[in-house]
Symmetry: C2
Subunit: 203 residues, 2 copies
DNA sequence: CCTACCGATCGGTAGG
DNA sequence: CCTACCGATCGGTAGG
């Protein structure tokens, strides 16, 4: 029973630790994910929890990685097969706000929360978040450029402010829902995105 | 030297504790404000730090209160003498994004960070943030309503999505600056606000 | 992945 | 506002 488990069992343990870490983090912040709490929650020893992750920072980093994977799977994967351009951008935005409104964790969108919490810190988590956001910005820019080239957006469109606006509107969903109970924040965010893109409110 | 200080000295101590707490919190989050760290930073004993605040939650709450006061002083105070309506709304938005870009703390806008960090928690800090945001929303709504009545905004303006958009765009400044070095985020936020209001890009 | 343990730090109090 | 102290918990390691 004791001793080193099989590679498969170790992988399952790893997954359950990260899943619990994401759940705690979504409610109380990534800092509140402590080794002792995870051990209690999972009925394991602290050594068992931290064993696979060398350090708490590694565990935090892998938690962030897990959530970024979920974001890609739910937001980017469903639309990536479409041609670059405005239709794909709008589909991505719709999936994006949908994810923000229902990220699969009790405490709201962990990605947003970690972004706003770690932006002013230094360290691996800050760097990883900055890199992930930069890649998502690239993706958005790519579709915006294609939309301009196709004539679906005006030729003079200033791209950086537009990207800034889209990501700000998406991020606002979590506090709107959790602080004010705005059940329609998802819809509001998407409507704002359409306005910034210069599109009519519907269709 | 030792023993209970005068009421005035106590007030100065209180201020210096809260100021240090805000500085730490802006960089590493409100959770990282520990009594021991404040004591080290200020050259005091832990008992001296916590003495005036009964508990850590009270200290956190008063730190939030301090930052909310600063927000009101820098954003609302300079424009409140203007008549309700679009000009005051635009002046408030300009002061708002200015504050977001330069909030007076090293680690960015503490109000934004705490908002996104505590939205999913329960407790006094969450409740106070929700209340403060609700009051600011009321202020915005009041000017928007006046602008509609004056004919400066269309009669059919849907107010809640607009308020949502304004606050989301303002909040996006901190991560844009700190994660991506977007020096023009303040300008982008204001431009987005004007677009949502249906105004021309300039003037 | 467990037991047993390390030094450090946590929030907070007693008493002056 | 200080010294001295409390039990609890922190991240992490040794050894199996």
């Amino acid at each position: 029973m004791a001793g080193r488990a099989s590679a498969q069992a170790a992988l399952e343990t790893r997954r359950s630790v990260l899943s619990a870490a994401a759940e705690i983090a979504s409610m109380e912040g990534l800092d509140s994910v402590t080794i002792g709490r995870l051990a209690d929650l999972l009925g394991m020893s602290k050594a068992g929890v931290i064993g696979q992750f060398r350090s708490k920072e590694r565990l935090q980093l892998e938690t962030v990685e897990l959530v970024m994977d979920a974001f890609r799977a739910r937001v980017w994967q469903p639309v990536r097969h479409l041609d670059p351009g405005l239709p794909r951008l709008l589909a991505a935005c719709a999936a994006w706000v949908r994810y923000g409104a229902d990220p699969g964790y009790s405490g709201g969108c962990l990605l947003t929360q970690v972004t706003y919490d770690y932006d002013g810190r230094s360290g691996a988590v800050h760097d990883r978040i900055a890199e992930g956001r930069a890649r998502w910005r690239d993706t958005l820019r790519h579709d915006i450029d294609a939309a301009i080239a196709a004539g679906d957006l005006p030729p003079g469109t200033d791209v950086p402010p537009l990207v800034y606006g889209l990501e700000s509107l998406a991020a606002g969903i979590t506090p709107a829902r959790l602080l004010h109970g705005d059940g329609r924040a998802e819809e509001w965010a998407l409507r704002g995105m359409r306005t910034l893109l210069g599109l009519a409110p519907e269709g």
